[in-house]
């Protein structure tokens, strides 16, 4: 093994302390930590909102809140979970781990990286401020259209819509900056000898995510900007009365929206195989097949968008096209599932918390994918569209597939990041509580959907009461279990058993060759990969 020396970046030499350190930092680990912390806080905020929603749904009729407020909670909950919890968590890991995994001293564009993060807190304020303003009689609260911004409601709604539109602009700029940084880092900063086809799977997942973001975020930004001009400048992109077309908004939104669901998951599909390989103590199965599948899914994801509004009126050939192309995505996805399972096959497996989350993730995300196939069937979707079945489907993909995947990553890398082991027993308790409460929350929602309970309505017919009660109780259990997660992280940051450099017996990859925690400047001696 030979080494190449890389000099320190000048600007890194004297780092300020206190708040200025965080405001001005260009260090990839500091920025990663800020992303992850922000994500955790927003996860709790979004979670608190949804507990309000579930409390209202405990009984039929309206007990706790007005329908308008209920609708606002639903929309802001979704926007926060997607844009302020899940996406920043993935970006946080990218910042922390991509330079370590590819043997780079830092991200390629450190200053851009700092700006990318600092756009997030203002966007979170924009999303939540309308609630507070309404308390003082300004406006009538936050956006009430759900996260999808559908006109005509979003054209007619109050200032909450404007706030949400500007929040989306900031979030969009932030993700595009983050993506450019990741793309440049992966293309220019890999250690000598690390060809693209030797990159860790996490880097691959993020490379495709970054391209999807750069290609689709502008479409979302464009669509919400048209909403803004419809609202204030007299254009008629989406109002039927002025010659526009509300259905066009759905096309534009979902042209971004469907790739977005893969944007949320591709990074997770990257590091889960790494976790599986670590705790199965054998090499990842089908590396090439996985990389090609990731590309195939990324490419297919931009041509299937209309499956989100089959019922809005489409000619039969279009229905058939969108049905079959959607179903086609499950083929590369099945290849991935096969590789994940085969990676564990006959390995000498142990079930530390990250592995528990990873294995549970495969099963639960599998349910999410299979129920997606059901929804992709045009004839079945006519019944399930807009019902709780859809809600259950996307929580199996986003909570199990997204958040629980991220949790696997947190437990996996936390000892590396902090230099301390977390409390293993508490981690396992957290996993089991989360997995059980999650299923208890969302399995009833499949049945409610099949029985015809519509989504985004605060009130429901009395025959749905029992299942809603179960779902609400379990949701509270799910919510409060997350406090264990927070406690475990805080304690691990503060102290605990020292972690070794390798942390896990079966760990492979460059990040495990550095000390735990890694030095402020990673890889001042750039490693070479054979």
């Amino acid at each position: 093994m030979s080494t190449t020396t890389i000099t320190h970046d000048e600007e890194h030499h004297d780092h300020p302390t206190g708040i200025m350190r965080w405001l001005t930092t260009t260090n990839h680990k500091d920025i990663g930590t800020m992303y992850l912390t922000f994500s955790l806080i927003m996860f709790l905020v979004g979670g608190a909102m949804v507990l309000g929603i579930r409390a209202e749904l405990f009984q039929p009729g309206l007990q706790l809140m007005k329908p308008e407020f209920y609708n606002q909670l639903i929309g802001v909950h979704a926007l926060i979970m997607i844009f302020s919890a899940l996406m920043p968590a993935a970006t946080g890991f990218a910042n922390w781990m991509i330079p370590l995994q590819i043997g780079a001293p830092d991200m390629a564009l450190p200053r851009l990286n700092n700006w990318g993060f600092w756009l997030l807190p203002p966007s979170a304020i924009l999303l939540t401020l309308p609630f507070t303003l309404a308390l003082f009689g300004i406006g009538d609260g936050a956006i009430a259209t759900g996260w999808t911004f559908y006109p005509p409601l979003s054209v007619q709604g109050g200032i909450g819509v404007d706030f949400a539109i500007f929040a989306v602009h900031l979030l969009g700029i932030s993700s595009v900056m983050g993506s450019i940084n990741i793309i440049v880092t992966l293309f220019n900063m890999r250690a000598p000898g690390m060809t693209l086809m030797k990159m860790p799977m996490f880097a691959w997942g993020w490379l495709i995510t970054a391209f999807l973001l750069v290609a689709t975020i502008p479409v979302l930004a464009g669509a919400v900007t048209m909403l803004l001009t419809d609202r204030h400048f007299g254009t008629h992109f989406f109002s039927a009365a002025g010659g526009g077309d509300p259905i066009m908004f759905q096309h534009l939104f979902w042209f971004f929206g469907h790739p977005e669901v893969y944007i949320l998951l591709l990074p997770v599909w990257g590091f889960i195989p790494q976790i599986l390989q670590t705790f199965s103590r054998k090499p990842m199965y089908g590396y090439k097949a996985q990389v090609y599948s990731l590309w195939a899914i990324g490419a297919l994801s931009v041509v299937v968008w209309a499956h989100h509004f089959f019922t809005a009126g489409m000619p039969v050939p279009a229905l058939l096209y969108f049905m079959y192309s959607t179903m086609a995505i499950s083929l590369p996805l099945a290849v991935l599932f096969f590789c994940w399972i085969k990676t564990m096959w006959r390995g000498s497996m142990t079930f530390e918390t990250p592995m528990l989350f990873a294995v549970g993730w495969i099963i639960l995300f599998g349910i999410g994918g299979l129920t997606g196939l059901v929804l992709a069937d045009v004839a079945a979707d006519a019944q399930y569209h807009n019902s709780y079945f859809v809600v259950a489907h996307f929580h199996y993909t986003l909570f199990a597939g997204g958040i629980m995947g991220i949790m696997a990553g947190v437990y996996y890398w936390l000892p590396k990041m902090t230099g301390h082991m977390y409390n293993e027993k508490l981690g396992k308790v957290h996993f089991w509580l989360t997995a059980i409460a999650f299923n208890m929350t969302f399995i009833p929602q499949f049945f409610l959907g099949l029985a015809g309970m519509p989504r985004r309505i605060p009130d429901y017919a009395i025959q749905f009461t029992e299942f809603n009660e179960i779902s609400t109780i379990a949701a509270f259990a799910l919510g409060f279990s997350q406090l264990l997660f927070v406690y475990n992280i805080v304690m691990c940051v503060k102290g605990g058993k020292k972690a070794t450099d390798k942390v896990w017996e079966g760990a492979v990859g460059l990040e495990w060759t550095l000390s735990s925690p890694p030095p402020y400047h990673s890889f001042t001696e750039q490693p070479t990969v054979n």
């Binding site: 329908p67 007619q156 479409v219 077309d245 809005a312 009126g313």
Partner: protein, 189 residues
């Protein structure tokens, strides 16, 4: 300074330059994506007119047909009703299809029921397939011309009076008229 560390410094400033270059190239990519998103609007309208995706009807009242009834052919019009999320209604056509001569005036009823206990307003958005027939579907009276408001639990029959313009291209024999009810903001009283 040793020769070795000098070389390293040159390498690192070269890398910085390369990073900046690639970063700027990516900005072009973003600019392209923005241009693409703006181009999607005319592209969408073009696609609609070519493929008949989401055929738009003239959403204002047509005057009663002066056109003669064309007794030589029959056209079947099928009806579909759906409700978008956030609007707690059931909505469906009371008859699934009607067969009539072009020029003949027909009335069909849709029924909407507010299944919640609050007053809710909705706006129906039509779509006709195949698109090339869309302009020939002439509405005289339609619940889709204005917002509709239903009190909690209210059931309302909503009429649609229309005729097919005899100018309808002869190859169109079956048309589907779909209405999606979107949630709308109630008029402040």
């Amino acid at each position: 300074m040793s020769v070795e560390s000098n070389e390293a410094e040159i390498a690192s400033s070269k890398l910085k330059l390369a990073n900046k270059k690639l970063g700027l190239k990516m900005l072009w990519f973003v600019a392209g994506a923005i241009a693409f998103s703006i181009a999607l609007v005319p592209f969408y309208n073009l696609m609609c007119s070519i493929t008949g995706l989401n055929g738009k009807t003239d959403n204002s009242a047509s005057s009663i047909a002066k056109a003669k009834v064309d007794n030589t052919r029959l056209v079947t019009v099928e009806f579909v009703g759906s409700v978008m999320s956030g609007l707690g209604w059931n909505f469906y056509p009371k008859q699934s299809s009607i067969t009539l001569h072009p020029g003949q005036i027909a009335t069909v009823l849709f029924e909407a029921k507010n299944i919640t206990s609050q007053e809710l307003a909705g706006q129906a958005v039509p779509s006709v397939t195949p698109g090339e027939g869309a302009v020939n579907l002439k509405k005289i009276e339609c619940f889709c011309f204005q917002k509709q408001t239903l009190k909690g639990g209210e059931v309302k029959e909503m009429p649609l009076r229309f005729f097919i313009d005899p100018a309808l291209p002869p190859e169109v024999k079956v048309m589907t008229l779909s209405y999606s009810f979107f949630p709308a903001v109630e008029e402040k009283k």
